[in-house]
């Protein structure tokens, strides 16, 4: 296996952590934010037959979860290539 080069490894890890932080903030905002804490306020708006807060809680948050993982896969594959960790 490749001997981990300290500084490259550290930079890779730091960029990875930045991605994680951003994606997890979105994860938190759609589920706990839009789906629970601000659901009542969002329920004043509508998306077709759905009240918006209810839609986020029972539909929207799940779509965003799936999307988040695929964005993560895309970002990490790109990062792996950038630092030469892909295989």
């Amino acid at each position: 296996m490749k001997t981990p080069d300290k500084t490259t490894a550290q930079r890779y890890w730091k960029e990875n952590l930045t991605y994680l932080a951003i994606l997890l903030v979105i994860w938190f905002l759609v589920s706990y934010g839009a789906g629970i804490l601000f659901a009542d306020a969002l329920n004043n708006f509508r998306l077709g037959g759905f009240k918006l807060g209810f839609w986020f809680a029972q539909q929207g948050s799940i779509y965003v979860f799936v999307l988040l993982i695929f964005v993560y896969i895309f970002l990490m594959n790109r990062l792996d290539r950038k630092y030469g960790y892909d295989e």
Binding site: W27, I62, L68, I69, N77
Partner: protein, 565 residues
Amino acid sequence: MDVRIWTYIIVGLTFALYIGIAIWSRAGSTKEFYVAGGGVSPLANGLATAADWMSAASFISMAGLISFMGYDGTVYLMGWTGGYVLLALLLAPYLRKFGKFTVPDFIGDRYYSNVARTVAVICALLVSFTYVAGQMRGVGVVFSRFLEVDINTGVIIGMVIVLFYAVLGGMKGITYTQVAQYCVLIFAFMVPAIMISFNMTGAIIPQIGMGSTLSDGSGVYLLDKLDGLSRELGFAEYTQGTKSKIDLFAITLALMVGTAGLPHVIVRFFTVKRVKDARMSAGLALFFIAILYTTAPAISVFARTNLIETVSNRDYASVPKWFKNWETTGLLAFDDKNNDGKIQYVADPEVNELKIDNDIMVLANPEIAQLPNWVIALLAAGGLAAALSTAAGLLLVISASVSHDLLKKMILPNISEKGELIAARVSATLAVCVAGYFGINPPGFVAAVVALAFGLAAASFFPAIILGIFYKKMNKEGAVAGMIVGTLLMLFYMIKFKLGWLGAAPSPASEWWFGISPEGFGSVAMLANFIVSLVISAFTPDPPEDVQQIVEEIRLPSGAGEATH
């Protein structure tokens, strides 16, 4: 054709398929037995993970539960999907890079301690046994309702099937049967949902039908109609719910984190070749899970509306045939309190005359919506696929905990490959028998016990694994203390508020800490675990240099190699 004949045909065909796959994919080595040889494709692993994860509860009970909870049912929808984001981002890639067979393997090696390994084994067994009992029961229930055999006979048939492919094929057999089971269960779930959605709203996609107008020409949105009906009968509005924000928050968090900490889910990510594949299979798994999880709330809305419109204020003498059918199972009960011969279905328990079990909403839904008999039979096959796939995944965790973590790693380190494989098969067999026993004699607290499984997974594994990856200086003293405190706190709260001490009545909800229910307490116990781990590790020596080196290495994706002992 008769429903029963359809059921025998469809269930028979799916069982033949599972057994065929088991014979084709026998495990020849411990590596094949524990991690399917480590060469599963991300697509197959995604499908298998989805089936592994979606249990009898997801398939049979969840939509019904939500249809009575309305907005509050959100905790299950978000809680049982959002955990995959944590799993994909925080756990799966690193655990795959670490490259071992089991979760206690990681805990034991990362915290360089057999005490930590033992604590992890105990937690894994506790979580998996509580969970598997519910699955075997689910198998029995499906059999008894659709094939009119006794529940116990149903459990035994289920045991024999699982025994066959789990013992013979290990993880390899389980993986490929789970792929088939996912296809069966999602087809069985979607067909009635699509038909009902089309009948009620004209939309073919249930997720859209749920937010559409009714096709009766009134132009009223389905959800507004249901809110209106609920109000009239004295229930809370469907889209509003009654739980407090803090409890919703805590339950959702406990279920998400618990999902990410369940050993039978984590271990699926050890079966792929590269770190990249682990990420991809997590994404695909959630995609496949989301198909069912975004359809379920739509079914809840259709079923609840249908139910109210069909039975409310109707003459008991003129109820449809399905009503009488389900009355005989005891899942539906009518008690004419005011002797007017009509069914009063209202929120006020004094006046309400109809008792409905959650499970009916999915199982009887096709009958209520007057769908053809083969759809009803399909549902039986789907329920069985959901229960069997989850049971098999759990049994594998139990057998690996015994044969690998206890026997190979601690008691008999010199055991041969062949000996370990035999031990794995023997422990899988014993585990099936224990699970079957609990399926036939279910502990009276099955529902409580499943909540406990999630709480325990959240309170024990999740912090230990996260800190093990993201905090290089986390040491064994901190991790062990954290796991013990988290687990005991969770058990204490569960016993105090859900089970009661030695037969005494549980304490009332008014005494809940911070207003958090036992189902949501896993979040608090998890926080306690994190805090204890961090504080203790600050006052005890750093982990050895070679362990810190391991942490550096698992953070880099390349060179994952193959899973080894």
